[in-house]
Symmetry: C2
């Protein structure tokens, strides 16, 4: 088997290059795959001095520019030819890496990804998928999280197909349950998009378990849940905002009690919720449907999250997930 | 000024007739308006024996049937001609009551309402609005909560217009801030529906404050927030499901600590969240755009919620809110 090589944007995100380089080294050491750190060579070299690693498994690809999260992705991609995102994507395009991980600008990754890598033949729209935490301790993999705000029914079926392959191949969930996010449990429910999608999903050969109402999303009724990117954005953002609002209300009430033991005692239970619903934890997303896997990790990611993302890319590649996508959509 | 008369479905909801009759009597006593209790006469008479009230202000309209929440609204409305919902709506249609309150089947109320009362001239689509609780202790009035799952931009503008009139007239919020629920803060963001709606809202003369991202909904950035009924359903249902999920996680962690003082001490803070985000509290919705106000209160409502709904109808009528709707949309 050929050596697996993952390109990693060493300059993207709030904690670059310290956490990105550390995450890359940890991933290389744990998986035996090669990690190409993309970014300013002298900066990365300096960081690398802190760690021990097999020099066969760590490489640097110099890139002198960075596209910020506050700049227009399209103009960033056009103007900054030597940005870490573009250099990383080109490594993948040229076959020098299998996948690319970045904690930088999501927009730049999507725009650059489509431009440089192109879509898999047969894929209508590349799609963003992310794990929504559930009370079961697991995740429902939701697509589309925001890449396509206007969708046709056939797009949603492809999202479901790629999502099912992804969670089976990368997360090891066999014959994953696929649900359609809808405004009612019954088949007849829905807007024109979801009604038509329901019919198509029934005939798709997927393990389609029917509609999933928003109230049931946190309870893990399906392994893969599909919706258009506008609705997905609503759900994702509400999963960020609502827990924050709730916690602020509970904390305010706690402070009112003036009971120090109570306040101290609640630190652990609150931590459990924070780690489950915090944007930094659920911020990671896979961009599927391009001719390679792109993983966007949250801007605030620490080394552990970077390491996990690289490992996910390794598993994705080992299991030829891309080949399975092509096979399905052709 | 003519006497205000509110019809109340005495048979609808989980706690009928005990809580509905009680709520009706309380409202009549507090407001001086007349309440017509619609339902089985002998049952209501029996309940009424418990209370003191001015007999001028309480009337019974006999209706022998009830449309259950588990039956098809359309066939229920067609078949049960003597149902409390239909009898109540007819009282309004015939000018014998100004508005109608029910804790029964939402579907039956909507279907029956459109059939019996008809739309205000100039209104494209009647719309369901409800208050989404915010951390400020107030509410954002969201329309559409689920009546119209496929919408045109012009519908959303009318939702905003009626919503603004409603919160100003009934809740006393002057020049209410109107927001568009969207997938980004910037004007350029959105799907085809919200992009076009944004342009129209800018020219509407409303106090339009721009896009409201889902993450910001619980933080009360606008008094009126508009979206299509599919998205509104997602938001409403997630506002039900997510707090439940979070509380179950926190409680599980609390129990793990085995600390009885901690568990007991958290009862009050948890109660504050429950009362704010509980479906029973946020379940009430106003159906706007028909030739009278219909208020749906949650099936599990107690007398207090019923009383508040009747009082809301009284204020609505006192301030000629219906006339203001007509004036705006004509």
């Amino acid at each position: 088997m050929e050596k697996i090589i993952i390109a990693l944007d060493a300059m993207g995100g709030d904690n670059a290059p310290v956490e990105t380089v550390k995450g890359g080294v940890l991933a290389a050491n744990e998986t035996g795959a090669k990690v190409i750190l993309v970014g300013r060579e002298e900066v990365i070299k300096e960081e690398l001095k802190k760690y021990e690693y097999d020099s066969e498994n760590i490489e640097i690809a110099n890139a002198t520019e960075v596209i910020g999260t506050d700049e227009s992705p399209t103009s960033g991609i056009k103007k900054k030819k030597d940005s870490s995102v573009l250099v990383g994507l080109k490594l993948v395009k040229e076959g020098k890496a299998n996948a690319f991980v970045s904690a930088g600008s999501t927009g730049a990754l999507l725009v650059g990804g489509i431009m440089v890598l192109g879509k898999i033949e047969g894929v209508s729209r590349p799609v963003l998928g992310t794990g929504i935490p559930t009370v079961t301790g697991g995740y429902s993999f939701m697509l589309d999280c925001g890449a396509n705000v206007d969708c046709k029914p056939s797009y949603l079926v492809q999202f479901a197909e790629m999502g099912a392959i992804y969670v089976e191949s990368v997360m090891g969930i066999e014959n994953p349950r696929v649900g359609l996010i809808n405004n009612g449990a019954e088949k007849e429910k829905g807007n024109s998009l979801t009604k038509q999608t329901y019919e198509l999903l029934e005939e798709s050969g997927l393990n389609f378990v029917g509609n999933v109402e928003a109230v049931d999303i946190p309870f893990g009724k399906a392994d893969v849940i599909v919706c258009d990117g506008f609705v997905g954005n609503m759900i994702l953002k509400l999963c960020e905002g609502l827990p924050k609002a709730l916690m602020s209300i509970i904390k305010e009430e706690l402070v009112k009690t003036g009971d120090k033991n109570l306040i101290a005692g609640m630190a652990a239970p609150f931590g459990a919720v924070k780690s489950l619903f915090d944007a930094e934890e659920i911020g990671g997303a896979a961009f599927l449907g391009l001719n390679a896997l792109l993983l966007k990790v949250h801007g605030g990611s620490q080394a552990g999250a970077i390491k996990n993302a690289v490992k996910q890319c390794v598993v994705f590649t080992q299991n030829d997930t891309l080949g399975k996508f092509s096979e399905k959509v052709k």
